[in-house]
């Protein structure tokens, strides 16, 4: 007997080995099930033992009596009441148990208040706190380029860390305010709190569930963008027009996520009305696009077959209808008395669209827009994701446009959703206003840098498609709309190349910077005036002026009117390299002056940096030994 007991391998019978395997929770879950079954058996035995006693033990004198008499022997009123009481008690006990059944099975689906307040359940907070989010990698997927990861702090606690904390702050989002990738990328679908039997029957092996996400962002390019905008206010968006990859997107001034954790610091960030560091200028701030918007008008012309239109420029400006103010070129100036001084942009002769685009002729594009008409502009706006609204008031309404994104779950799209850019194409606005829109002024002044990068990506796409932007690298590319035919896109690329390459083009600074690399880039400059609030440089407070106005009773009241000034924003949109563009860039610098002086050089720098990083087509890979030594094997692994 003893030897038999010794032979048994007790180690095998330990509960961990019976249930556990690799999953720790299986051991207690299995033991619990055993416990429940065993208690069930014991209760069963008790019921059996009780049922046996349920029949009244017979008294010896009953033996000879007939059955009717024995049955009546103990049936007193009292005993009948006892039986009734017992019945009531069992019913009550089962009713109370029924309430437990209700909370377990039905409250989740039927009790609305219960559902609405389930966020008060501390258990969900506990399981979210214990489960780690995935890591975020940049497009290379390399560990050293992890954008978001975990590390141990001084107290050996596990904390979330970011390699580009300020550079990517807007994309990652804060825990408190606007959600970003951090709060939306790692939605978990599986119930993190299984029941004991589910643990036992369904979770058999350790699942190396892959929570990590590879983003389309390039680590180095993103930090390069941040350096480019240092000390300036503005935004840069870099997309890949072929598949919609967001390679980099940055808005300055930014903030650090560490700051946003602390409530006081967060409130300070929120209260900074002058710099608005929490605002993602790339997707949520409207700018007047200026001449860059002529690309939109050009696309519309191609879509309508009007790309061969020829319009003249006039020394006195173009007058859309009798009595209207004239529309003048950037080189001209409209004096208060209505006269115009200065020469036409590129001469006052008739121009075709190529010439007009190259010199950025306002008069040409105003005439083109009026010629295209409201319907065609609205149609083009639709395929580019721009809202075409009927009245100027509608344009001021805030609307977000999550459906432009190509994401794996809608909450990511919602978190990154741009403010939808808008133009006015209704009957309310005059032809003069329509003309202004065609050249990127007036009611076209509701464009986000993100939208402009999307517009630039249409000619950049080899098939003339607008690709939905995507941030997750493993998301298959998806087109938003077929905007142009491949030939039209190629033609438009040629037009865009004239701006940078031909003498007289507004963006020749680009080709000067790119000379020697062999890269050809197309683009369009833009310069736009916007009324902006004036802040005191030292105190950071709004500058005001005392003004008087009449109040309701007709009395003159003094009030503080904010001081405004005319801010000249510098724009540049670009695609590169021209044979097969992999970059579509939109740069805006607030108060940066001419597009050619501030924004265009930044775009050129980005193209050069992208070449170093191997983001262009293979033939532009840097060939010098020194750069290769600096960035070993990086280009190889790029796709």
């Amino acid at each position: 007997m003893l030897s038999l007991l010794l032979q048994i391998d007790w180690q095998k019978w330990r509960p961990e080995n019976l249930f556990g395997g690799q999953v720790l929770e299986r051991t207690p879950a299995g033991l619990t099930i055993v416990y429940i079954i065993a208690i069930g058996i014991i209760v069963g035995l008790l019921i059996v033992s009780f049922l046996d006693n349920f029949r009244r033990p017979k008294f010896p004198f009953e033996i000879g009596l007939p059955r009717e008499v024995t049955r009546k022997l103990t049936k007193t009123i009292t005993n009948r009441s006892l039986r009734a009481w017992q019945f009531v008690f069992v019913a009550l006990a089962l009713t109370v148990f029924g309430f437990q059944v209700y909370w377990t099975y039905f409250a989740d689906e039927q009790n609305e208040q219960f559902q609405a307040l389930s966020y008060k359940d501390l258990r969900t907070r506990r399981t979210t706190a214990a489960s780690l989010r995935g890591w975020m990698f940049d497009r290379t997927g390399k560990l050293e380029n992890a954008l978001a990861y975990y590390k141990l702090d001084q107290n050996k606690n596990i904390v979330r860390a970011y390699s580009l904390e300020t550079e990517m702050a807007h994309l990652l989002g804060t825990e408190r305010g606007t959600p970003g990738l951090e709060r939306t990328l790692f939605k978990r679908e599986a119930d993190p709190m299984p029941e004991a039997w589910e643990t036992l029957t369904k979770i058999r092996h350790l699942e190396h569930e892959q929570r990590d996400v590879r983003l389309t962002i390039d680590h180095d390019l993103q930090s390069f963008l941040a350096r480019q905008l240092q000390g300036k206010k503005g935004a840069i968006v870099v997309l890949n027009p072929q598949n919609g990859d967001v390679l980099a997107m940055y808005s300055n001034p930014s903030f650090s996520l560490d700051e946003a954790q602390d409530l006081d610091d967060y409130l300070k960030l929120e209260g900074n009305k002058r710099d608005k560091p929490l605002l993602n200028r790339a997707t949520r701030e409207f700018y007047v696009p200026g001449s860059t918007f002529k690309t939109f008008t050009t696309i519309s012309a191609f879509r309508s077959g009007k790309q061969n239109s020829i319009f003249a420029s006039y020394p006195g400006g173009y007058v859309p209808y009798r009595g209207s103010r004239p529309i003048v070129d950037a080189t001209q100036k409209l004096l208060p008395d209505g006269s115009v001084v200065g020469a036409c942009d590129g001469g006052c002769q008739e121009k075709n669209i190529v010439e007009a685009y190259k010199v950025s002729s306002n008069q040409y594009f105003a005439q083109l827009a009026i010629d295209l008409g409201r319907e065609r502009l609205r149609d083009t706006a639709g395929v580019l994701g721009i809202a075409a609204v009927d009245s100027p008031d509608d344009a001021l309404l805030q609307r977000f446009f999550p459906s432009i994104w190509n994401t794996s779950n809608p909450s990511i799209a919602a978190a990154l959703a741009p403010q939808q850019s808008a133009i006015v194409t209704g009957k309310d606005i005059s032809l003069y206003d329509l003309g202004l829109e065609g050249m990127g002024q007036g009611y076209a002044g509701q464009m986000t840098p993100f939208q402009m990068a999307l517009i630039a990506s249409v000619p950049g796409n080899m098939e003339g498609k607008l690709m939905k932007p995507r941030i997750e690298a493993d998301q298959p590319p998806e087109p938003f709309a077929q905007v142009l035919s491949p030939q039209q896109a190629a033609a438009l690329r040629d037009i865009m190349s004239t701006v940078t390459e031909e003498p007289g083009g507004t963006g020749t600074v680009i080709s000067a910077k790119l000379s020697g690399t062999g890269i050809r880039a197309g683009g369009k400059t833009g310069t736009a005036e916007k009324q902006a609030l004036l802040y005191d440089d030292k105190t950071g407070k709004l500058k005001t002026i005392k003004k008087k106005r009449k109040n309701d009773k007709g009395e003159l009241v003094e009030y503080d009117a904010p001081l405004m000034y005319e801010r000249t924003d510098s724009w540049f949109i670009s695609i590169a390299p021209l044979e097969r563009p992999t970059l579509s860039i939109a740069v805006v610098v607030e108060g940066g002056g001419f597009g050619a002086t501030t924004a265009a050089p930044i775009a050129a720098n980005i193209i050069l940096k992208a070449r170093d990083l191997g983001l262009l087509v293979d033939q532009y890979k840097p060939k010098t030994v020194s750069t290769q030594a600096k960035t070993p094997d990086k280009p190889k692994k790029r796709r």
Binding site: T32, N53, T104
Partner: protein, 557 residues
Amino acid sequence: MKNRTSSHFFILAGIVIVTAIAHYSIYYGALIRGYETSTVTAGRNLLLLGLLSVLPIFLKRFAKFKGNWTLYTSAVLLFSIGLTIQYRLFSDPEYTSRKDKAEARQEKIKTLQLHYIQESYSAEKKQMMGLPATPPSPVDLSTESPRPADQTISDVLLSGNTVNPLLGFAGLIVAFLFMRRDDFLDLLQKHGFLIVLLTLVPLIIAAITSRAGKALGNMTPWEPAKIPFLIGFAAILAILYKNLARTYWGLPRAKDVLPLLVMAMLPFVPFFVLKDFGQMMVFSAVYVTLYVIAVRRFSQRFVLIGSVVLLIGVLVVGALPDKTQEEIPLLPMLARPVRTVLPNRIQQRFHLWLDGFNPPTPDTQWWKSDYDDYYKKLIEKDPGLPQMLEENPELQKTINVDAWFDILAFQPAQATFGIASGGTTGRGLGLGYPELIPVADSDYIFAALAEELGLFGGLLLTLALIVFVSAGVRTALDSRDMFSKLCSIGLAAFIGFQALVNIGGITRALPMTGITLPFVSHGGFSLITSFVMLGMLMAFSHRNAVDRENSEIENLP
């Protein structure tokens, strides 16, 4: 299965083994979360149960126990479930520690995170984090160093958790030995009214010294008052029930009714002062039980039952949520006078019961002061709040909801979420989060049970309770005189109703009243009283069996 001591001994031994399994499960579950449970406490629990499983042998051998063992075994089963759940809760450092709760919680979370990293992070990732670079592999608990349990043997042995059950066992034996004696029972029966007066002593002391239903810390000194109340009332009824049947012009004599009225008032007055609504409900339910069973005239029964139903109706009408009241015509008019009389505490409880997920408006009179306190604390933290409230009046609603779920509704809401999360088989012992519910070891122990053992756990507990009460009813049925009949059913009713009021309060079938679950909850006087009552019931069962044997002997030809 016959009523053999040996078969019940085997069931009891089974209970010990099963409880050991449950304790191991809790121990292992704790290791997963990075702390160790006290093996001393586990051993203590098993020893207590071991003691209870050998007790029948001694009762059989030395006290010649002949009664129904089912009573005893089902009570021990309830007690073992209670010990298990208490072990789960009291070994959790987050539940027990008062000062460093947050630290204990953080430590648990960190352990889970480290396990996840160990299981699913690649060696490179671990290295980057500054952890030993090992490939993803299953966690080996034997290599970890969990937070040790800091209970020494003397701590465990001297704690109330050890002493109270032992006192309870002693009480059980003493009660059994006394109550089985004819002379002692005769004595009790004769001095019924005097014994009732005894009841008042602890009640009055408590009413003077305590506040909010708890006196002397967490002790409830009127728990033992149940026994004299019951014996006294049974004695009085045993004499009166025949007189009551004698009516003049359809009415019983005043001198027969008066003692009953006094008895009826007894539970109400002191508990109204104490605002202990739960005990009032249990005492009244037992009163109704005894009355209905003893009194034979239908009209007389009807008077009592009718008035009880009316009283409950009026209370509920008074406490119905405002929304429901407005829907039914005339209801607000009826409810207003009730509301002015009802104590605030009871109004709170009723609101929690009927409309618990819907916070009352901040100007409700019983909620206003709590809300204002909460609001004041918020302003201290954020002085800009009043201005924000002015700009955005919707904010007040949010603050009100937060205040409601942080103060009054916190415990019941967490309990309800716990029950809902338990599902059919529960999360598993040591795998749920019952430590989030405050005082889950006593009043809310059913919520902890439902979370970790699920519907099955709740069902088995209910069944064990039904078996116990039914065995009590069996005892009453077999009793051959009115006094022991009433005593037996009263004892069963006390334990049964107290359990129903407790479970019903947690599952929101009844208002939550803060009384314990007999045999299961952690408690002092309440546990001892329960065991004494068990001893008394066993004594009555024993007497029935002896009576039967005697009649056999007498009738032998």
